[in-house]
Symmetry: C2
Amino acid sequence: MDLGYSTALLTDQYELTMLQAALQSGTATRRAVFEVFARHLPAGRRYGVVAGTGRLLDAIEAFGFDAPALEFLASRGVVDEPTAEWLEGYRFSGNVWGYAEGECYFPNSPILVVEGTFAEAVLLETLVLSILNHDCAIASAASRMVQAAEDRPLIEMGSRRTHEKAAVAAARAAYVAGFATTSNLEAGRSYGVPTAGTSAHAFTLLHDSERHAFAAQLEALGESTTLLVDTYDVERAVKTAVELAGPGLGAVRIDSGDLGVVARQVRAQLDALGAHDTRVVVTGDLDEYGIASLAAAPVDGYGVGTSLVTGSGAPTASLVYKLVARADGPADTDPMRPVAKRSTGKPSRGGRKAAVRRVDGHGTACVETVTTGEPTPGPRDRVLQVPLVQDGVIVGREPLEAARERHRRSVGELPATARQLSRGEPALPTEFVDGGPRR
Amino acid sequence: MDLGYSTALLTDQYELTMLQAALQSGTATRRAVFEVFARHLPAGRRYGVVAGTGRLLDAIEAFGFDAPALEFLASRGVVDEPTAEWLEGYRFSGNVWGYAEGECYFPNSPILVVEGTFAEAVLLETLVLSILNHDCAIASAASRMVQAAEDRPLIEMGSRRTHEKAAVAAARAAYVAGFATTSNLEAGRSYGVPTAGTSAHAFTLLHDSERHAFAAQLEALGESTTLLVDTYDVERAVKTAVELAGPGLGAVRIDSGDLGVVARQVRAQLDALGAHDTRVVVTGDLDEYGIASLAAAPVDGYGVGTSLVTGSGAPTASLVYKLVARADGPADTDPMRPVAKRSTGKPSRGGRKAAVRRVDGHGTACVETVTTGEPTPGPRDRVLQVPLVQDGVIVGREPLEAARERHRRSVGELPATARQLSRGEPALPTEFVDGGPRR
């Protein structure tokens, strides 16, 4: 997708000051490998979900310093003139490998690898992390909600609770993780996510009575619409709704009260009125635990807002972008050297890594092997990194449905413990195998 | 600011289906008043901070349904043809009043009032809430960090931990709340927020030694730069830094370990080396509590990332957009009627409201009065709603510095308890005065 704007200034200033210093010291052209990984999952979570890959590829393609960007940098003295000239010609010309979108990940999974010169690869740090930290956080929360909802559909409706553009990305990430629809129209237009929505309390309050409001909505949207029944009195509203729509009414929505109790009352009332096929949709501060608590209630669908767009307690995925290897000199033939900082409490492991998901004879994943050498998959195993960008050319684009389908398979393949909501250890261990230097 | 794109699809689908139904039932042209408020602050917080107003005005100006938007809506059958035609001519032509940006707010403060026909005002709901819920959440967290830091400057550096566009808004909101600078270049370009940044661990790892890296950075950025000293061994790094830069070195940055302990060691070492003016900057998972815990440590500045962009535990401000009054019919002369839903646990109060911050003889705010009648301010009191849009024309634009200065005054005027980090009640009570119908 052509973004129609440059993403180059969605970047921390220090990427540019590092570039300037490296250009001056002659180290800018050293080959470098950066790796994206999480040291840990959010407390108690069993797996994370890779999302945002498609958005990232669009953003990398749109990463170039146009005239307004360069003027800004010059006017503020962020970089000197040689650096500005270098930026003017910048296009990423390296390689990006990554876990395919929708794949599950675990602590230390090398979910993205960026290879290029230091100069060209360091510039992408902020943008890569912004996109992946946001989208993975949302998808990881969304996937738990999907598991909790079992076969009932989920509507994403959190746009109003997050930044207006983050809302679009959140709707996309939720869809990858298995949500059925979103309220967000831009997510429909930009990414083809199915959209949904009917009415709010304001619509009922606008009219002289609830009866007028329901009649107006049915007239405009047809009997398959969803009527919101908790503006005044739920029982009276359900009665009015079926009176006006007949038993073919699509759904009623409950947005307040004890949702399980009210859903049972409403279901019984609908059945008594002969509206056996009218669905009951519940919304209102639901998260994965609230959804799970309604498993035995006669609920046909859930709307989720705040908890989805805020990652249900984990609004960012704690992914980092670390230099793990670099050449000893500027020539293509200079040997690569694994590097890692030794800062207290923030260990990282040097060397370019690959990963394999080992799958047993029952089709269940049992371990993820991370290696600095060439991966050695068995017949059922999956090599997790796929090419996304080669020599600067985007090669990893795919339909969003492919990521959604991949996630369904990836989470289905995990041990059953992965789908528990309770706090616990990651569902798969990540084993490190020192395979020696790679390539 | 001209956004250069339409914001109209950053909207929940149900705003459009309600519009269609209201157009059909003849209620779309009823005059309506929507109000934005929070039923509560995040648990234990003493005040909230209004932010995003300037961004909201830009977004309202850019809210129009262009051809691609209308084509999308038609292709998906979201609205019928008469509604699409209505949308094609849509520009908001009503009034918006709001608490000025930077002002503090409390539960039930009517921080924004949108007046227009139902049709034109309901369409803005999602966008208004997205912008205010995000920016107020960030500014509210940021303000507490600024209080905790007392006179020490704060650098916003959370871009990588949030959606790439949310990052720009977060940097802007943090600046309103008193942060000194941001790492985010687009926030510098779009909003004039001062930017900062020097180098990361990757820069040190890129070079053959820490000494080479420091020398390269000093050569490129000058002795006033900030050297990152915790890649390998802090003590050795500080020694190398001062050897290379001399006592005029601008700052050293510590990003790991027990920041208070390490800051003391580094300060002592710098002083022993004669680098008395070299500042000590600390970063690494700081929040308002971490900042406060370093009050007695020899720290000259803080960098804050994750906790800032995630609202330090409250990533959204829980603001709602509620219809509080509407006309009984379509004519300008039809009387306005206060309305409110009666949903369980989500009370709201009908009627268009105004608010006054009462200030005592010592210049300290003591109560916020919310009234459905005309506000009656005393000589020191402040009427809190200012005109932002009049008859569709943006009138509330102001320089970002004005919002920042307003926030400094607004928080300074609150009782001392407001600036405590401990959990407690809102710093001001919000008293409701029934002033009868207004205008």
